[in-house]
């Protein structure tokens, strides 16, 4: 038991590396917020564009969504971080992480919003059009509010899954939580910083999950 505590909950080691981990928390939260905002916004724009049903544009959007959902983000992160400098584009680690993860989230978000749009009965669009609203007005005032409500639960799950992937930043030297924890672990020879890291993730994502539940209950409305 002592050995267990010594390995995972060594107070001295924890105290020593707490500032590093806290700094990692700041980086992770910042990245997570930026990824969610950019990814969801981009996905929403793509799904809205897709409702215009322009053939070539839709083909491109579908390609993007399929590729973005199929590729493991780690592969793309490594490709961007180590490959792009060879053609003269050097992005910082956090930037690569942000770009790749928000682009991945955008691909999923586009499909989720699109599913929301297509699950609306055709009569909703027709009722709007028949009352003299333009297609953009129907989109904004009738389709979007309903599609967003349908999209919230799957979107929250996906946003959680993808923001947790900020841990991948540890392979390209982004000083987020996991990176700070593994560095501390190798210096101290103790697993305690990793425990601290795990606790830090819980501290960030449990409130997120609770917030998500609240959002879902708020967005549910009485169904016909």
């Amino acid at each position: 038991m002592d050995r267990f505590l010594e390995t995972f909950f060594n107070a001295t080691v924890m105290a020593r590396y707490l500032p590093d981990i806290l700094h990692g928390v700041g980086v992770t939260v910042l990245l997570a917020v930026a990824i969610i905002l950019a990814g969801v916004a981009a996905g929403l724009v793509l799904a809205c564009l897709r409702t215009a049903r322009l053939r070539w544009l839709n083909f491109l959007i579908i390609c993007y969504a399929d590729v973005g959902r199929a590729l493991p983000p780690l592969v793309v992160i490594l490709l961007f971080y180590f490959g792009l400098p060879n053609i003269g584009i050097t992005l910082s680690g956090p930037m690569v992480l942000f770009v790749v993860l928000s682009a991945t989230l955008a691909a999923f978000a586009e499909e989720i919003f699109w599913a929301g749009f297509t699950s609306l009965p055709r009569g909703q669009w027709e009722a709007g059009r028949a009352t003299g609203l333009g297609s953009l007005q129907v989109l904004v005032w009738i389709a979007l509010p309903q599609a967003v409500r349908l999209a919230v639960p799957p979107l929250v799950n996906r946003a959680l899954a993808i923001t947790k992937m900020t841990a991948l930043g540890s392979v390209i030297g982004v000083s987020e939580i996991l990176s700070a924890a593994t560095t501390a672990q190798s210096f101290s020879g103790s697993a305690s910083p990793l425990t601290l890291g795990a606790l830090a993730y819980l501290a960030i994502f449990v409130p997120f999950v609770i917030f998500a539940r609240w959002l879902e209950s708020r967005f549910a409305w009485k169904k016909a």
Binding site: P121, G123, Q124, E126, A127, G128, R129, A130, T131, G132, L133, G134, Q137, W141, I142, P145, Q146, R149, W221, K222, K223, A224
Partner: protein, 246 residues
Amino acid sequence: MSDRPMLEIAALQKRFGETEVLRDINLRVGQGELVFVIGPSGSGKSTMLRCCNRLEEPSGGAIMIDGRNICAGTTRDLNRMRLQVGMVFQGFNLYPHLSVLKNITLAQRKALKRDRAEAEAKAMEMLGRVGLAHKAQAWPAELSGGQQQRVAIARALALDPKVMLFDEPTSALDPELVGSVLKVMKDLRDEGMTMLVVSHEMGFAREAADRVVFMDGGVVVEEGTPEEVFGAPKTERARAFLSRVS
């Protein structure tokens, strides 16, 4: 009833790919007239109605509303034209995320650009007409089918249309709720609204229709007063259809 037709359908054709759904429809609905359309399933009744506000694009022919061809013109003309043609659907199509009041003010505000107070006053007036003023703050899902359909009628009327199109407005309703919707339609007719109604409510047609049109296979087979069409149908097809439904 004046001579000038409020709605005139001339040589209307509609194809979906290879299938010819409307062949050559000619129909005039005078100002304040209620024309009642019957016909077997698949005869093109809904398609004809939907062409009248271009939810379906006609393949040929012309449709005139108050003397203006609605098939010509820009997108803006199209949206303006649709304000003049109210449509009531079989499935109500209320917006579930908006209250009854907001359902009725949305197009008034965004398409007609009325301000909030004016739109809400108009909405309350229309809700009063359909007997649902007390439901302004309710959600669509809290209403019965008959109430939802009356809200849908109020939503269309709030835009001051010149013509109202009804596509089987009572077909999705429980029998005991049909009457309330038909009463609203009858009142509307008595107030002089021009109406084109697709329905199976023959009793309503006898009571309220100026003319009955029988469609089959994408053409108007027979038309006349309710007494003529129901009492002594001239064509074999109309006779067969009427003996089946009544």
